[in-house]
């Protein structure tokens, strides 16, 4: 298990990104203050992410065990990392904008995001309790900072502080749980933990540890009842940061949750399944009902993301291969729905000032016909209306749930999706059924068009790529769970 030089190869994307981030520290420090340097750093980061994505998909990257079992670079990791990279790329691209009123036009923004990205990738590859914790902390700390980046805004500082406090609490829970798991299993790597678990009754200390770990991760994916930070942080953070929060870290945290439950605790699926069922139902209900009364679109998106995590967890709760594949398909659609929606939220401005009220979208279809159509597609997809991406995500997670005899969960899920449809339809109503005297600015940056266009293409043509996605997720699931028994 000693370190070998070849171990470096599967971790090359992470190593490259870390090196780039360190280099960008210098550029940020000596490239001068202000917007020009900030944009330079952001552009370099975008190039870096593209290179990392290129490195990731090289053939010899797949290596289930590296660094003595700390780091899994299997096909599952590849799939999820690709999603995280694409999502972060989209979010960073959207932060490239002419106006500088949201406080993120500082050189350190992009490099903090890069560091968080490395953290997310480490989370996805974590195959050991230690690596898991390191990944989470590396991802969280830069994100706490960027949430509070708008230093002249009380809301932003509040968001950062809230995020930090609750994030620290969840890390504490996770760490405590991990210590109990280590104490009862005598090992920190997932394979040994799995091997030490029998199929029978587990020691109570272990069960407590497991529940603590799952709860800690539930904070990170913002599943109810651990969702309280989400609406405030989404609302208070600068909007490009909200876009990032909504897209990338959820995928990484979900991947980690999958690796922990399927990998380390795979033997005892019946014991954690009920915890996930509870989380799933709570999230679907809170997400659907909580969003109805919101007036701020960023808060609404926060509740929407809670609901989406609830649906994804419904697939995970099944504890089966089909469930894992369903979650991956769901998260794929989720990344693009989030990117497309935030591409529009980010250009909602009136007289140069950001407008984030839902009612600001009144008459949007008259002033911005193409963008309105884009948001319409996103909203119907989020509501799970076929033939859009959101529907296929729901199809596969609920398929897994029904297959695992969780029919009530599926029924609650579909009924809540109808409740959720209400607030997505409300946005369409404002855009299409109503007129406005105070239209939003019509200036549309090219990057927003690009992100929206790509997302729309993916969402609309999801059915065409589904067959390839099924093959990919099947391979990934085998990597995650081992050959089907």
């Amino acid at each position: 298990m000693a370190f070998q030089l070849t171990d470096i190869i599967p971790a090359l994307p992470e190593i490259f990104l870390s090196g780039l981030a360190l280099l960008l520290v210098l550029v940020a420090a000596f490239g001068g203050e202000g917007i020009v340097n900030a944009r330079r750093v952001t552009r370099l980061s975008l190039v870096g992410i593209a290179v990392a994505l290129f490195l990731l998909v090289q053939d010899d990257m797949i290596r289930p065990f590296a660094f003595g079992g700390m780091f899994a670079a299997d096909y599952f990791a590849l799939y999820m990392k690709a999603l995280v990279l694409v999502g972060t790329f989209a979010a960073l691209l959207l932060s490239l904008r002419p106006e500088g009123d949201d406080g993120i036009n500082k050189p350190e923004f992009a490099l903090l995001v890069l560091l968080a990205l490395v953290g997310m990738m480490l989370m996805i590859s974590a195959d050991n309790l230690l690596a898991l914790y390191m990944g989470i902390e590396l991802q969280s700390l830069p994100l706490y900072v960027v949430a509070a980046m708008r230093t002249n805004s009380l809301r932003s500082s509040e968001a950062g502080l809230k995020y930090f406090l609750l994030g620290a609490l969840s890390s504490g829970m996770l760490l405590y749980g991990a210590s109990l798991v280590y104490g009862t299993c005598g090992a920190t790597d997932f394979a040994s933990i799995a091997a030490s678990l029998g199929t029978g009754e587990s020691p109570i200390a272990f069960v407590v540890g497991m529940v603590f770990m799952i709860s800690g991760l539930a904070f990170k994916v913002s599943a109810a009842p651990f969702h309280m930070w989400t609406p405030d942080v989404y609302e208070g953070s600068p909007t490009p940061v909200t876009a990032l929060f909504a897209i990338a870290p959820k995928v990484a945290a979900m991947a980690l949750l999958m690796r922990l439950t399927y990998g380390a605790f795979g033997q005892i699926a019946d014991q954690w399944s009920q915890v996930l069922v509870a989380l799933s139902v709570a999230s679907m209900v809170v997400g659907a009902l909580g969003a109805i009364m919101q007036t701020d679109i960023k808060r609404m998106m926060a509740y929407s993301s809670i609901a989406h995590m609830g649906y994804a967890l419904a697939g995970l709760a099944s504890g089966t291969a089909a469930g894992a594949a369903g979650v991956m398909i769901y998260m794929t659609g989720y990344v693009f729905m989030g990117a497309g929606t935030f591409a529009i939220i980010l250009l909602m401005r009136r007289d140069g000032q950001a407008a984030t009220k839902i009612s600001d979208l009144k008459g949007f279809s008259q002033t911005h016909p193409l963008l309105a159509f884009g948001l319409l597609v996103m909203m119907f997809s989020m509501a799970g209306i076929p033939p859009l991406a959101g529907f296929f995500g729901k199809w596969y997670v609920f398929l897994a749930a029904v297959q695992a005899d969780l029919v009530p969960l599926a029924v609650i899920g579909v009924v809540m999706s109808v409740v959720g449809a209400f607030y997505y339809l409300r946005i369409i109503r404002l855009m299409y059924f109503e007129d406005t005297d105070v239209p939003l600015d019509t200036q549309t940056p090219a990057v927003n068009k690009l992100v929206l266009g790509v997302s729309m293409a993916v969402i609309l043509m999801f059915f065409a790529g589904l067959s390839g996605m099924l093959t990919a997720t099947e391979t990934a699931t085998v990597a995650l769970m081992g050959e089907p028994r």
């Binding site: 609920f398 029924v411 589904l466």
Partner: protein, 501 residues
């Protein structure tokens, strides 16, 4: 020669290509609007012509599906691209392709804002409707079935009346709630059988307990679509607020999705449950027929009256289907096609006078026959067809349903017949109040006579309604083979279940 072409796919996706083409039109506002109208009319008209090839190439004597198309979609999962039609789905496909160009014509002048978007919505809607009737894969069917909601929601919400937002939301959420319960059932069936291919699912016999749940799930969806009492309340709102063409398609085609679903899925796939629940369906349908007829009598809004009459007429359809007799199902099918034509024409009748006086209140009219004689003839004909006068298509459907109902239970037949009497009452009374008598209101004098465009919409519908009334065999012959197959599935599985007990 026809067989070599993927003709069903062409018919299904042609309107969608038309919609994409509309996006490319450039120019001034009014030019775009006029071009959009023409392109849409041509595309939908051409789609109708292509769909006639289905009628010509269709062999009623051949059992099973014709014009079948299969392609890989999700290999290895039992889900695929599968299309085909039989005697049950073919009339609906033609009904959709026939009504859509007429609906476009009906909105020629009355839609003035956002014409291009309107036309795109209708073209997308047509693709979804046709796709739903020709799908032979459960997942595909569901995709089309639910995707219909998107354009219809937009049509009601953007071009509808004063309370359009409320109506659009009610329509969407009501229907979605029904559909998602069916989705869970589809998932359960897929897991049980391992495929979503409809012919395979039809041949599979589900356990009795499972059938019950599946039947109820499908019932939730189809009952809302039909709509059956007590889940019909979205319909009057949606109809009243929808633009004329929207009402025509809604009543003409979308309501038939429920009845089609019962015949295509509920009966052959869950025969035991269908038999078990038929008293429940009869009770719901009889309440629908009598209750909504009485409600229709009390309406002061013309569109609302016709909307309630639709609920009543669809009550006959569900009674016919669940008599599980050949006459009953054939009657239900005939009634659906007839109602599709007649109610679309009746909604257009309302649209014609609405375009002139901008009100749907019955009391605002009176003596219209004197100023619009040709219109009066068409309205009367459609009204009588709706009442079921012999010689119109309405009569054949109602008679067959009654025969089927008589076989099932004399009480069901008795109450159904009561509904017929009530139906005659509210329709005749409506006609008297709007068309006959002296002219009370000044404005009625100024009403413009029927235009050529309006005439061109009424004429083809009238001809077909009359044709089916005089020579019903032309439609029945297409259907009987397929209906017999449904009956066989129901009765044979009934026997096998008895044998098991």
């Amino acid at each position: 020669m026809i067989g070599a072409w993927p003709i069903l796919s062409i018919v299904t996706f042609l309107p969608l290509f038309g919609a994409l083409f509309l996006l490319l039109i450039r120019g001034e506002g009014e030019v775009v609007a006029q071009n959009a109208r023409h392109v849409t009319l041509w595309v939908t008209g051409f789609t109708f012509l292509v769909s006639l090839a289905l009628l010509i190439g269709f062999d009623p004597k051949m059992p099973g599906y014709q014009f079948e198309e299969k392609a890989e979609w999700l290999p290895g999962t039992g889900i695929g691209y599968h299309m085909g039609i039989d005697g049950i789905s073919m009339p609906f496909v033609l009904l959709s392709t026939f009504l859509t160009p007429l609906a476009i014509l009906a909105s020629w002048r009355s839609i003035k804002s956002r014409v291009r978007e309107y036309m795109i919505a209708f073209l997308v809607l047509e693709t979804m409707m046709i796709g739903m009737f020709v799908s032979l894969d459960m997942l595909m069917f569901y995709l089309f079935f639910e995707a219909v909601l998107i354009p219809m929601f937009i049509i009601i919400g953007v071009w509808g009346g004063a309370r359009r937002v409320y109506a659009a939301f009610k329509f969407f959420l009501y229907t979605l709630l029904g559909s998602v319960l069916m989705l869970v059932c589809i998932l359960a069936m897929y897991i049980e059988v391992g495929t979503t291919d409809i012919p395979i699912l039809t041949a599979y016999s589900f356990g009795v307990g499972m059938q019950t749940w599946l039947f109820l799930g499908f019932l939730a969806s189809f009952a809302v679509k039909v709509p059956m009492w007590p889940v019909h309340t979205w319909l009057p709102d949606a109809h009243v607020e929808a633009p004329t063409a929207g009402s025509m398609i809604l009543a003409g085609v979308l309501l038939k999705m429920g009845g089609y679903g019962f015949i295509r899925f509920s009966l052959p796939m869950f025969p035991h449950a269908s038999e078990f629940f038929s008293p429940l369906i009869f009770a719901m349908s009889i309440i629908a027929v009598i209750y909504t007829s009485l409600v229709a009598l009390a309406q002061s809004d013309m569109k609302k009256l016709i909307a309630y009459s639709s609920v009543a007429h669809m009550g006959f359809v569900t009674i016919g289907i669940f008599t599980l007799t050949e006459q009953g199902i054939a009657g239900a099918m005939f009634q659906m096609i007839s109602h599709g034509l007649v109610s679309a024409a009746l909604f257009f009748c309302v649209g014609v006078v609405y375009d002139r006086l901008h009100t749907r209140e019955i009391s605002a009219y009176g003596g219209v026959a004197a100023v619009m004689p040709r219109y009066a003839v068409f309205f009367m004909f459609m009204m009588l067809a709706s009442v079921g006068l012999p010689g119109t298509s309405g009569f054949v459907g109602e008679l067959l349903v009654l025969v089927g109902a008589w076989k099932a239970s004399t009480w069901v037949a008795f109450f159904t017949a009561t509904g017929l009497v009530l139906g005659a009452t509210y329709m005749l009374w409506l006609y008297r109040r709007v068309m006959l008598g002296g002219i009370i209101h000044e404005k009625v004098h100024d009403m413009e006579p029927l235009t050529q465009r309006e005439f061109a919409i009424f004429l083809p519908i009238t001809v077909i309604v009359l044709w089916f009334g005089v020579y019903p065999a032309s439609l029945l012959d297409l259907m009987v083979g397929s209906i017999q197959l449904v009956i066989d599935t129901v009765s044979s599985s009934g026997v096998s279940l008895l044998a098991q007990n």
